[in-house]
Amino acid sequence: MNQRRYNIYFHTHTISGIIIAVLLYVIFFAGTLSFFKDDISAWQKGKSVVATDYSQDYNYLIDSLGSKYNLRGRNFDFFLLKQGHGTYVNMSTSQDTTISKPKPKAEGQQGRGRRGRDDGDSAYFLHFFTDKTQSSYAEGYDMGEFLYRLHFLAQLNQVPMPIRLGAPFGYLLAGIVSFLFLFALITGLLLHWDKIKSNFFLFRPWSKWKTVWTDMHTVLGIIGFPFQLVFAITGVVLIVNLFIISPFSKLLYDGEDAKLYQDLQYNREMKVDYIYRPLDKTVDFNAFVADWQQQWNGSKISRLYIRNYMDESMEVIIESKPDSRLNFAGSGYARVQMKDGKVLETKSPNYDTNHIDRVKSLVYHLHFGDFGGRPLRIVFFLLGLTGCVVILSGIMIWLVARDKPNIPVYKRRFNFWAANVFLAICLAMLPVTAFTLIMVKMLNKVDQSVIYSVYFYSWLVLSVYLVVLRNLTRINKHTLLLSVVLCFLVPLANGLSTGQWLWNTFAVRAYDIFFIDLLFMMFGLGCAFAYYKVKKDGKAFKVSV
């Protein structure tokens, strides 16, 4: 490789890397914990899903709604949770204008997106099949959801923006970070190209610090490269795909986004005209779903739509995802007219796979790691942590490479200041996460705003404290020690507040709750070991400002 190219790769890699470092770390750390989103939710609620027998009782759900509302002519959308133990329910107002009595819409009442919309007659809520309880989105909000949403910076959407960006600020930022990450990955690979083979397993942990960090960064970066590339690309696709969608929609669909989304199988046309003739038979939704599930070899139902409830025109649309052991890619779909049970359209999740199914399944499965059970998620989780290590060591290389006598002092001061702040924010995340998990077990009432306050304020306080230390070695030691204490307190807090000690949850096979306790004990052990090693063998590290 000639020197000029090497320099270009070097500088583009450095700049794109250091700009996104902190945000990318947040994304990686929160994201890698989100592989266990369902487990964290179960842990926080103290209700194991894997150890509970439940049936998806749609009849009960609709009957109980029927005792509160007149259901005739309404539309229902059920968006099932991944494990199928609950569902988001979206109930519209009735198509029957004698029931819904449409009133003129007041100015400024347009809802902000799908969540929290409630004009008295329609409803949007979360229903759990496991214990047949219901909650609003904000009440059902838990740490699993929080970390999951933090990993695409959804919380930043609430930051007010002076100009219209065309996309929510947090998502846009996450998308930009993700794309720069992709760019940094490509430049990083090319930069290291000549040494890939010779340095593949080159670790020199007893050498000087700069060498240690360089090895950590390049070797772990190369080994984790395929994994990280997959997440960079699928991440961009999942969060800001409109950058690809909208130009194509302009050019090929004359700007009709709806048509394009339909072709890409995101949305389906489901408009059914209301005909004001009551349907004179009862509908058993449980049997209906069970019937399709059996026909599709037990594939999981992902969505269920009911149109014009109890009108003669009533239709039910069911969507499913195949069991990933039977078919990796695919989507099932059936549209049934309820009057005579006629199937209007159908597509099997197991056989009728098309190209779009394959692309989308690839994106989803690879990003969510949901095709190989818990072992695969643990492997992905560890690879995600490797990504965190690569980012941190990248910051350290950036700092020490610029800590030379020929660099002016004011520049070195700035570099140290930047690295100091970056490391403080990044390293504070683990203790803060553990702390919030403890707090949600200790506080009486936990909802969205409580989690926000606890997490973000403790993060702020700890980061400021660590920045004030102005000493990277001490930042490291303090966060390690704090992590040891807090991580061990996590299973303790769970046991004390609910009595679900590790041995109890293990005995009743509540592996989801058990796993989170175990995970944080592992974190605690890891940090304790690291702290011991740093204290005993750690070479002094100092920068010259």
């Binding site: 992709l182 760019f183 690809i244 194509f248 050019l251 090929l252 890409l264 692309v359």
Partner: protein, 64 residues
């Protein structure tokens, strides 16, 4: 990137090309960004981009 995939829609169904662009599109964009840094002559870079874009756009423009 857009023009290249636009050109491909004349060979394969357009919705399939768009779906494939989920992967190839972003990688191509990143490579094009890197190319901008690698090319020493600014005017040559601009001309290359414009010519390539126009070339791939040809079938689309002719069909308008």
């Amino acid at each position: 990137m857009i023009s290249f995939h636009l050109c491909l829609t004349y060979i394969w169904p357009k919705e399939n090309v768009i779906a494939t662009a989920f992967f190839t599109g972003y990688v191509l964009w990143a490579v094009l960004l890197l190319w901008a840094f690698l090319e020493p002559k600014f005017w040559r870079l601009c001309i290359t981009y414009v010519v390539l874009a126009l070339l791939f756009m040809l079938p689309y423009l002719l069909n308008q």
